[in-house]
Symmetry: C2
Subunit: 344 residues, 2 copies
DNA sequence: TTGTACGCGTTATCAG
DNA sequence: CTGATAACGCGTACAA
């Protein structure tokens, strides 16, 4: 009984005598034997394993991505190797060593790319790209050398701002996000330029601090509503994500403010709980499922990395928190503003 | 330059001449070389990888478990291999083959054990147990041959029922859960027996259908509130989990019912969004973090499987949805009922 | 201090 | 049809 024969039985090779096959199969069943994929991987040089690197699986948006990715990978017989980044920014050399050492078939980076300009991170990604295909969910950076998927968040921010404006809001704030997001993020820039196009003055004291959690949302809205004089307080909010929106809504309720009558709010990510908040949260859908499945397919079909950007729309899902079902708030916007809106 | 020398440099062996070390290190750095853990695994027979098997990472409770498990595993240099079960019940032989083939260092089963009585599943688990340590989050079953962690859900259900009763509710329903949960689940049995101990009549038409999603919660509460005559409709709900509670709250709001004034509600899992619902959702905390970390530690320290049950308390986290902050609802409970409650 | 030989479990190739 | 052999890349034991 040689090992080669066992392999042949396992792989259903036709060139095995039926008697032999039966005898081998019996031993296999008796011992509950299964061939070691570790050894198979070593021999073939293909681990059939995809790494997914993200800040935290606790964020339901990331969980949705991972879920779809796992499902898609399984279909092709691939497995998922999960890696949560210890903290934002600590994308250390150790992780890269780990990824390379594991001989993964590909890497799927999700989020945590706010510091992508850091030279060390760039260097690590460049290095990793020599070993395996990479797909990342991040803003477009053709110079990155691999596939970046992202949503047209700038367009969505513009759309959301205009939507709130057309509902009668003239003081619209953005809350949450990375620090100094107003200065750095393309999304915030788009938001501000849209306000300008609408003829609205730049928002005072908005969006200077940030973060992406419920607590951040609470803190931010509390700050705005206490620091600002009543006449400057926002009547509408565009939240960095649905978690921030959840916190903001909670804080507003605690302050006795009504949503959307007193403050309208729009979230981002269109997470599973959006239809179930009170009132249901208007949000921006990011097509997590499509992103993830397409990312896995790219990873599986790619022989080597090439720079590319895959953009998907970010579509506004209108529910009740933005006040659309209540119609215009207060007086109608001035005529010239409407034109400005149409100009864009 | 022999391979052995490279190994020595990599592992920081003292018996390497400094000149040699430097020369080898330089080549390593130049090529961005990292030793293949695949080969290491094959040689050592230890993959330092733990499998986590669950129904869906989309459920935030599971995500919390996975997050903590990943963190704990990393600390010991272990990795996480994720596997989502295609569907409830389809815990097929293929998965077990896969787990064995991967030569995992351990397996962590989360949820999806409602069908653990199925002989085929039992057989598969028994088989798997011969290859690696197993820890599962599931009801106690000493005969399973490995460690089961669970929460005292029966006690929690009793506590929740009594809490609602002492707030003046005499018609308390349980919604969601597996089909026929009233007949089969220990938790439902405990709930019903507590109602009996409190002197309350068995709930009509409660909990016959189930499920664990928001939609299930909506459907269930809608059914109860329409099928039942007003005098028999529940004034308080104990939901199978927070997702079901979320759906039920939403449906109640749509029907113009107030929470908790008209219907009090208690969830289960104490998920991240509980403090942020309107009103904040009273829930049962399941100590996901402790479960996960302890499970990983057990897996890493266990040489072979032994039957054991690790019980953790399930504690009621009182917020506003149960109406505790409003005090007694309606008239005080009858005296004999109070005694019955104390008897338990 | 360094090199050589062997085993880990599988598959592919070639010989019988 | 089946067995023997090499190779995958590493660590370990032993020899030089």
């Amino acid at each position: 009984m040689s090992a080669a024969t066992v392999t042949r039985v396992l792989n259903g090779s036709p060139s095995v005598r039926e008697v032999t096959r039966a005898r081998v199969q019996q031993v296999i069943d008796a011992h509950g034997y299964a061939p070691s994929s570790v050894a198979q991987d070593l021999g073939s040089g293909n681990t059939k394993t995809l790494g997914i690197i993200l800040p935290s699986i606790r964020n339901p948006y990331y969980a949705a991505l991972v879920s779809a990715a796992d499902d898609e990978a399984r279909r092709s017989g691939y497995s998922i190797w999960l890696y949560q980044l210890p903290r934002e920014g600590e994308l250390s050399a150790q992780l890269i060593e780990n990824l390379i050492a594991r001989r993964l078939s590909g890497a799927f980076f999700i989020g945590g790319f706010s510091d992508v300009d850091r030279p060390d991170l760039r260097e690590l990604l460049d290095r990793l790209g020599k070993y395996m295909p990479i797909v990342a969910i991040c803003p477009p950076r053709p110079d990155l050398g691999f596939i970046c998927m992202y949503n047209d968040l700038s367009g969505a921010a513009r759309q959301a701002a205009r939507h709130l404006f057309l509902l009668g809001n003239e003081r619209i704030a953005m809350i949450g996000g990375a620090r100094n997001v107003i200065e750095s993020g393309a999304r915030a820039v788009a938001f501000l330029s849209e306000l300008e196009a609408l003829g609205l003055p730049p928002p005072p004291e908005y969006g200077h601090l940030g973060g992406g959690t419920m607590e951040d949302g609470m803190r931010e809205i509390h700050r705005m509503m206490t620091v600002l004089p009543p006449a400057e307080r926002p009547t509408a909010l565009l939240a960095y994500n649905d978690l921030v929106a959840l916190g903001a809504m909670h804080q507003l309720r605690q302050m006795g403010l009504r949503i959307p009558e007193d403050v309208a709010i729009i979230g981002c990510d269109n997470q599973f709980f959006c239809p179930y908040t009170a009132p249901p949260l208007t949000s921006i859908d990011m097509q997590a499922e499509e992103h993830a499945r397409s990312a896995i397919r790219e990873l599986l079909s790619a022989s080597e990395n090439h720079a590319a950007t895959i953009v998907r729309a970010a579509t506004l899902i209108i529910r009740e928190s933005c006040g659309a079902h209540l119609g215009m708030r207060g007086r109608a916007p001035r005529h010239e503003n409407r034109e400005a809106a149409a100009d864009d």
